[in-house]
């Protein structure tokens, strides 16, 4: 549904987005992560045709955004970082205008707009001027705008920024709901949010992809070969016993009777640890594969990306 082929954006000498390629299939809900200035918004602006790529191609449902812009844009609902609102319009007027711009076909425009107003929870303010609305409402008006005409692809740039916690939860639920019928690309730096909504995560740093995988795989592979072992017995003896196991790189004590083992193939090591503990008479009380939180993966990957750049 969304296809990026070597998408690059250069501002003079500065490379904002560097040879980005990925494909998002129909129905996927993808989180687009990266530290500030990583090129998330630039990528989204290129995908939606707001700015042009220096090199490479962006295809929406097979339509090139630069060569067949109208066909491609018709399929996109875009909520930019700053919602593109006209403060002197009422919510209703604004959505009507945005609808007319999109030249979408629906059975009845009024019902269509009313449905969306209900859905994002701004029906009560529809006759108010946008300039009199709070940040949270403005954000929702922007989101409503993106939903007009039921586009197949939704591109949302930090949709929950500036919202209070209750509103955040509401909008997240809404996006999760939208993910059932739309292909969604969502940028955020609230990792917890992405892990809740998205089934796939693309991380970028310095304009390059540093990770592209499902959340489970990401935290799993990032943890690499780390095992947490809890055993009862003499701590130094346990340390020595674990350290002498084959392929173990290191053992650190991380608490009372708690140890962390680093080894490349930690899964295969579990049986050996168990056997060793039994053999030496330690009571093994816990043995688990460590998983990294998304925050840790994020830090690890983006810093690696930075080091490579």
């Amino acid at each position: 549904m969304i296809e990026l082929k070597g998408l690059t954006k250069r501002y003079g000498e500065k490379v904002a987005v560097d040879n980005l390629s990925f494909t998002i299939e129909k129905g996927e809900v993808v989180g687009f992560l990266g530290p500030n200035g990583a090129g998330k918004s630039t990528t989204m602006n290129m995908l939606t045709g707001y700015i042009s790529a220096t090199e490479g191609q962006a295809l929406i449902d097979g339509y090139d955004i630069l060569e067949t812009p109208n066909e491609a844009k018709r399929r996109i609902g875009y909520l930019p970082e700053q919602p593109p609102l006209y403060l002197d319009m009422t919510v209703d007027e604004y959505l009507r205008f945005a609808f007319n711009l999109k030249k979408a076909k629906v059975e009845d425009v009024k019902t269509h707009i009313d449905e969306i107003l209900e859905r994002v929870g701004i029906a009560p303010v529809k006759t108010r001027l946008i300039k009199n609305l709070s940040k949270g409402y403005r954000q929702r008006v922007g989101l409503a705008q993106a939903l007009l005409g039921n586009p197949e692809v939704l591109i949302l740039d930090e949709p929950t920024v500036g919202l209070d916690p209750a509103q955040m939860i509401e909008i997240r639920n809404l996006i999760r709901d939208l993910g059932k019928e739309h292909t969604v690309l969502l940028s955020s730096h609230i990792l917890h949010e992405v892990s809740e909504i998205c089934n796939r995560i693309i991380m970028i740093a310095h304009g390059k992809i540093v990770a592209d995988d499902s959340l489970e795989n990401l935290s799993h592979t990032a943890a690499g070969g780390r095992l947490i072992v809890e055993a009862e017995g003499d701590e130094t003896a346990i340390l020595a016993a674990l350290f002498t196991l084959p392929t173990v790189h290191g053992v650190t004590q991380i608490g009372a009777q708690r140890f962390m083992i680093e080894a490349p193939a930690s899964v295969e090591l579990r049986r050996a640890i168990f056997d060793r503990c039994v053999e030496r008479g330690f009571a093994l009380t816990q043995l688990k594969q460590e998983e990294l939180s998304l925050e840790e993966v994020f830090l690890q990957r983006t810093q690696e990306g930075g080091a490579n750049a």
């Binding site: 939606t48 707001y50 042009s52 018709r74 875009y78 593109p84 006209y86 711009l101 030249k103 705008q145």
Partner: protein, 247 residues
């Protein structure tokens, strides 16, 4: 284009700009009508139109100052540029909306000759018609120039001042040219350059062409001149938008 036109037209009257423009237009045209026609007891509108030109230079920029600069400042241009419409739809929509407001303001001034006619004055409708066409043409050019300047800045204040500056140059070019005519030189290169300079300058002589209109003559070349003059500015506006997208 229709959507943009409707939006712009609507915004002129949901913000004060439309009313301010119409108000100033009506007030000053009334004042000039009083000074030139009532006080002098004439049905000739030549002086009226010439005098009002000064006001036009100041108020047309008000009409166009918001057009692009505000969109860029509030980032609402993202909505327009990511919609399935072309840059030309946006520019033409904005242009036509500003022109429509201008035409309404101009139509209001028709009341003055009607008053005189009603009171028994004899009016040369042919000359009047020419003057109105001339004013419509000046409006086309001024608005296109204003849109162009508005697209160069995110500040409405800069847009309005810049536009006044640009329009002043348009209007003053003719009189400036008069001052440079005294050039007695034997140097053929200098004379040649001078001729080129004067030719280029004459391309921008908006007011010289307006003169023929104000005498009641509506000539096709003059119409084409004004329309293409405006088209160039709208084209440059479009190029500037495209260039920003590529950089």
């Amino acid at each position: 284009m229709k959507a943009i036109f409707e939006k712009e037209w609507g915004l002129y009257f949901s913000t004060p700009i439309g009313y301010v423009f119409l108000g100033i237009f009506a007030f000053f045209s009334g004042l000039y009508f009083w000074m030139n026609n009532i006080l002098f007891g004439t049905t000739d509108f030549y002086a009226f139109f010439n005098g009002f030109l000064t006001i036009l230079l100041i108020i047309v920029p008000i009409l166009t100052m918001r057009s692009f600069s505000e969109e860029r400042k509030t980032r609402s241009d993202q909505l327009l540029l990511t919609a399935p419409i072309s840059v030309w739809d946006i520019i033409l929509g904005k242009f036509l909306a500003a022109f429509a407001v201008y035409a309404v303001a101009l139509a209001i001034t028709l009341i003055y000759p009607l008053i005189l006619a009603f009171m028994g004055g004899s009016i040369d409708w042919g000359v009047l018609f020419g003057s109105y066409i001339g004013y419509l043409m000046l409006g086309v050019v001024f608005i296109a120039g204003g849109l162009f300047v508005s697209n160069l800045t995110e500040s409405q204040v800069v847009a309005v001042i810049g536009t006044i500056g640009l329009l002043l140059i348009f209007v003053l070019v003719d009189s400036l040219a008069q001052y440079i005519t005294i050039l007695n030189t034997q140097n053929s290169v200098l004379a040649f350059l001078y001729r080129i300079f004067m030719t280029v300058l004459s391309w921008f002589a908006l007011m010289a062409r307006y003169e023929t209109f104000s005498l009641g003559m509506v000539e096709l070349p003059a119409l084409v001149y004004y329309l293409s003059f405006a088209a160039v500015f709208l084209f440059l506006t479009g190029m500037k938008i495209e260039q920003r997208r590529w950089n």
